[in-house]
Symmetry: C2
Subunit: 213 residues, 2 copies
């Protein structure tokens, strides 16, 4: 099974690497990090670069596509090469997926039209621009489109995909192998749980990076 994780400059690394850690363990997975141009892609913080090994033009038919978030994906929303690649892959493939604001790119490709979907909480309402119905959920499966909430939600989504694609026993084993028994020190991981003041602070910070992008 060919799995393509699309990367680009100014991506959010955990959006991509969380699901990678699960999906790369699928039996017969051929997982590749892909980009318009292969080579190093620097993350949104500037402190890390990941390498794309393969150009999207070299991998036109992935069975699973994953688009991560990060301010650097906004230019992809107007990039015909990327959008055409996503649309063609989506026609033929098993799963088209996103983490965080990766959903905006799927939306720009027309893939979320009429779908229930999710994204990072601060961008959820923007899904309506693409004809999608925003859902408050860790991940949403609608047909073959699976979208995850912000950053860390990609791990939950990937375990769900592992269960759907192989079986629950396999997904449970991966969860144990990566010791995914999360114990966040605080209970502020979603805007529904965090105090409103904190939500405002983080929303404003997100908005500023958005304007900058």
């Amino acid at each position: 099974m060919k799995i393509a994780i699309l990367i680009f400059d100014k991506l959010t690394a955990l959006d991509a690497v969380g699901p990678y850690e699960v999906l790369s363990r699928l039996p017969n997975a051929e997982l590749r990090f892909v980009a318009e141009e292969p080579g190093p892609k620097r993350t949104d913080t500037g402190a890390l670069s990941l390498n794309a090994d393969v150009a999207i033009s070299e991998l036109p038919d992935p069975d699973v596509v994953l688009v991560p978030g990060g301010e650097g994906n906004r230019p992809l929303m107007r990039d015909d090469e990327v959008l055409d690649w996503l649309r063609a892959a989506h026609e033929a493939n098993a799963w088209t997926t996103s983490v965080c604001t990766g959903a905006l790119v799927l939306g720009a490709a027309g893939i979320l039209e009429g779908k229930r979907a999710t994204t990072h909480w601060a961008y959820r309402e923007r899904l309506r621009e693409f004809g999608a119905e925003p859902v408050v959920a860790r991940y949403v499966e609608d047909g073959k489109v699976v979208t995850a909430a912000g950053v860390s939600a990609g791990i939950d989504m990937a375990l769900h995909l592992a269960a759907r694609d192989v079986d629950e026993e396999f997904a449970k084993a991966v969860q144990l192998a990566i010791e995914y028994d999360p114990a966040p020190p605080f209970d502020t991981g979603s805007p529904e749980k965090a105090p409103p003041e904190l939500v405002d602070v983080v929303r404003q910070a997100e908005g500023e990076s958005e304007t900058a992008a």
Copy 2:
């Protein structure tokens, strides 16, 4: 604050990238991925490479050191350049940390002697080889040594460090920004929770990769 994440070939990517996503957001963080030799380091699955931007010799005085896991870290346990770097950094720094089997490298450097510590559940008893007391916990802080359990536990540890190093309000904001409100599809993330048969399967797989390494 200088933060050094030590990488190497055959690392487990999420061990490094989970904490990176939190620690890179600390105020005044200068986070660098470091290695004995700068350049691309391919992960244990072979499907991804991350770049080390800086040689450890160029960064002798990090305030925070993090050693991730992955079968590729076993050679570091006999690598004097790495062990000397870790020992020197540990003398002077604020925090010496590990995720997953990164603890074995701290142990080999003598840093866990007399400490309470943790690591990936399948390797927990090995901590005794280094004079440490193995603890069943998501992460353990003992003096300035903080060790995390397997793979995904680095996220929890990093949020704890953010709270210790800045304050709880800051750590809560980061948790919200990365939407860390985990909802694993199964309850099999630790050997205490997973069925014994599943624990045996995963332990055997870990043992095989260990022998291979």
